[in-house]
């Protein structure tokens, strides 16, 4: 009985708990789901979302992701892990090189633009406009990344909704023409440039970042219009998805020049000149974040926020590595090193043999051969005799022993070895003909390798930034556009850049495409330009023609040796050779100018026409 009463009481209490609560007691807002209304009315959450979109923008060969592809062309070779040796042995480029068909990001951006209109009630109109302009910039940038690889792509600017009717044809959009995509980028920039906030920011889109996009995109469009039509048979599709009419070239070049001049004349940016050692100065553009007024737009990394990358770990010189693994993956080759001219304006070919090619030229130091070179070489490439982080690079391939009539070359089985005279045989960083993770070319990368202590270790890693746009490029864009428009002041922009690299004032008196090509190669090396530049000038298939006898299709190495004995004892000599691990000439075919449309895209959408040669 007593027990029954207990039950009654319990039942009563329970029912009163369940019944007495008022109606919304069970209607809790979920703690793990954020509603659309919450997101689009909270600027902080919108910025969080934007960060996600910024992070997903495509970079072909940056500091993360496909960084290894920096070794696919003619500036560097692969000296890292031997499992990636195919990069030195490609019989031709794949038809999917640089493939990008990322409509996931495009859709997310379209959705965000529409949701701000639909859900934002507490944001001011100015805030809404600012966010939408920023989103439209990101979309325009992503379309630029796609068009420069794939040619014209479908321009989707609103979310596509399936009506479950069984007929998906309403979702299948044909490719826009190549010109239409470039026009879209230009018109988007024009529409949003004055709506963008973020003045002074180098990470979030502002007016000048948008203009920089226009400067580059219009230059690409102009040169495509001009140089494609100069080919014997231009690369086109009947519908114009690939191929821009030659008549458009002038207009595009003018638009590019106007955008470049607006940035240059804004007075906000200036070339980085904080270090009087000109080589270090050039290197610091990519390493120093304070008082750096040259950068326009970067993808920033930050140690304290755990936003870090592995680029220094993978690419630091072998003898300087702070970890016990990796290093030395991307190693610049002699081709790039020799493209840096001498400061007196002469061609950059390194002088290792005397004029009659009968004997070596002897240098008393390991870096003697690089004397009076363009200082950008120092800032980009770590060469023999140079120092990094206060330590010598340790680049020496072996010794040449004088036997009375000639030299006997002695190289070591391992790096960091000592010759019988007690001095260095092979330096700590090689080069070595076959070892993995030791430079095979005789050079290492300096640009983008962070200077701080421990940045090449797995535990610390690096947080130097990736530069999308900097003023140096804008100068070169302006020079090229002005040259193509026949303006005589074009050369001044290049001369300004060259002055920073150590040349006297007005070092060039005139400009042609060859000079522009070389200046872009050496100023912007490893900044994700060379592949796209050679494509838009339609030069890639000429330079990289798959011919072993063509020095531009082969990659070369420079091996330094110490002389032992004879009258030049203790001096250094240099051997040029085809890089030992590089076996197959670069072979860029006409079909590589436009990456093939992925098969799944064509399967899903029959309106997509294939690229030429596909």
């Amino acid at each position: 009985m007593k027990r029954n009463i207990k039950y009654y009481i319990a039942a009563f209490l329970l029912s009163s708990v369940l019944l007495s609560c008022n109606s919304d007691w069970l209607e809790r807002s979920p703690k793990t789901i954020i509603t659309e209304e919450q997101v689009w009315n909270d600027p902080k959450q919108i910025v969080g979302l934007l960060a996600n979109y910024y992070n997903r923008l495509a970079i072909f060969t940056g500091l993360e992701g496909n960084w290894r592809d920096k070794t696919m062309f003619d500036d560097a070779m692969w000296s890292g892990y031997s499992g990636e040796e195919w990069r030195n042995q490609m019989s031709s480029y794949g038809n999917n090189l640089g493939e990008l068909w990322d409509y996931y990001l495009i859709r997310d951006i379209n959705l965000a633009i529409e949701n701000i209109d639909e859900y934002s009630t507490s944001l001011t109109d100015a805030q809404k406009q600012g966010f939408q302009a920023e989103l439209r910039f990101l979309r325009a940038y992503q379309y630029f990344e796609m068009v420069k690889r794939m040619g014209g792509v479908p321009l989707i600017t609103e979310q596509l909704i399936y009506d479950f009717s069984g007929d998906p044809s309403g979702l299948q959009h044909p490719r826009a023409t190549e010109a239409e995509v470039y026009d879209f980028i230009a018109s988007e920039v024009d529409a949003i440039k004055d709506q963008l906030g973020n003045g002074g920011s180098v990470t979030r889109a502002n007016k000048y970042i948008a203009l920089a996009l226009k400067s580059r995109a219009m230059l690409y469009a102009g040169s495509l219009a001009k140089y494609n039509n100069l080919m014997a048979v231009p690369i086109t599709t009947p519908g114009g998805e690939v191929g821009i009419p030659a008549s458009r070239a002038q207009g595009y070049y003018q638009a590019s020049l106007d955008a470049s001049l607006e940035i240059i004349n804004s007075g906000i940016y200036s070339l980085y000149k904080n270090n009087t050692q000109l080589g270090e100065n050039f290197y610091e553009i990519f390493d120093k974040k304070t008082n750096n007024t040259e950068v326009i737009w970067v993808k920033d990394y930050k140690q304290s926020a755990d936003k870090r990358h592995w680029f220094s770990y993978d690419n630091i010189a072998r003898g300087l590595r702070e970890d016990n693994l990796a290093s030395s993956c991307i190693t610049p080759v002699l081709n790039l090193v020799e493209s840096y001219p001498y400061l007196d304006g002469s061609k950059g070919t390194l002088k290792n043999r005397n004029a009659g090619n009968t004997d070596y030229i002897y240098y008393s130091t390991l870096d003697g051969i690089y004397a009076n070179k363009d200082w950008r070489l120092y800032g980009t490439v770590l060469y023999s005799g140079a120092t990094f982080k206060g330590l010598p690079a340790g680049i020496q391939a072996g010794v040449k022993v004088w036997d009375g009539s000639g030299y006997k070359t002695i190289e070591g089985e391992n790096i960091g070895t000592t010759y019988t005279d007690g001095k260095t045989l092979v330096g700590n960083s090689g080069p070595h003909r076959s070892m993995q993770e030791v430079s095979n070319s005789g050079f290492y990368l300096r640009k983008f390798i962070q200077s701080g202590v421990g940045t090449s270790t797995r535990g610390i890693r690096s947080d130097n930034w990736w530069i999308y746009f900097r003023l140096g490029e804008i100068y070169l864009n302006a020079a090229e556009a002005a040259m193509e428009l026949g303006q005589s002041n074009a050369v001044n922009y290049v001369n300004t850049l060259r002055e920073r690299a150590g040349y006297p004032a007005n070092s060039l008196s005139s400009l042609n495409l060859e000079t522009i090509m070389n200046e872009r190669r050496i100023e912007l090396a490893f900044e994700d330009h060379r592949y796209f530049d050679l494509k838009r000038w339609r030069k890639a298939h000429i330079l990289w023609d798959g011919d072993r006898n063509n020095p531009q299709a082969m990659l070369y190495a420079l091996y330094p040796y110490r002389v032992v004995g004879g009258s030049h004892d203790g001096q250094y000599v240099f051997d040029k050779m085809i890089a030992p691990r590089f076996l197959t000439p670069r072979y860029f075919q006409l079909s590589n100018y436009y990456t093939f449309i992925p098969q799944y895209v064509r399967d899903n959408n029959p309106k997509i026409v294939p690229n030429p040669f596909q």
């Binding site: 231009p234 023609d545 075919q589 006409l590 596909q614």
Partner: protein
Amino acid sequence: MKSKIAYFVFSFVLVFLFSRCEKDNYDAPTSMLTGKVTYNNEALGVRSNALQLELWQHGYQNFVKIPVFINQDGSYSAVLFDGNYKLVRMNGAPWENNVDSIDVVVKGNTIVDVPVVPYFTVNNVTFQKNGNQLTASFVVNKVSTQRNLKSVRLFLGKTILTDNGYNIARSSVEAVDVTLGSPTTLSVSIPDAYANSVIYARVGVETDGIGQLLYSVSEKIQ
């Protein structure tokens, strides 16, 4: 004791698991599809490892092409499962682009030649070695009206794989100096290092706007 039993059961389960996986394994494909790229039933020479044919097979979820590279002598081969395939000729080759696919039924070893219409052909090729000079004589014929001739080139190589990428010496003649349909000669000096060794010679025809050359048969020069 109890734990020992557990080990026995565990190892029994393991043995059971690993001995049962035969069921869903396929045998490797065994049927050989071979053939040649031909014009007028004659094989056409190309650069090795540069040109592709595509094989497609409908009816499976994974619809991707099987790339088949064409050998330097115009032949190709692929080891396949028996079945029906579509063979597609790709654009960018030194022959007319033809988007029509060829139906291929693979049943055991199968031979299928791929007919194409080249832009140009090179016929009646003869080589004459005279001291350190090698002279080629040949006739270039225009077959298709779609494209123009760019140049004709002569290559010497160390192996039968001689082409514009792998060669030890070459020379070329521009289109203006070639009379279509009548004999043309082209000579090249043999590098001293190869004066006494076996070399191969080959003539290639380059078409405007096409990266790939069409080659004559790679011929051994004693």
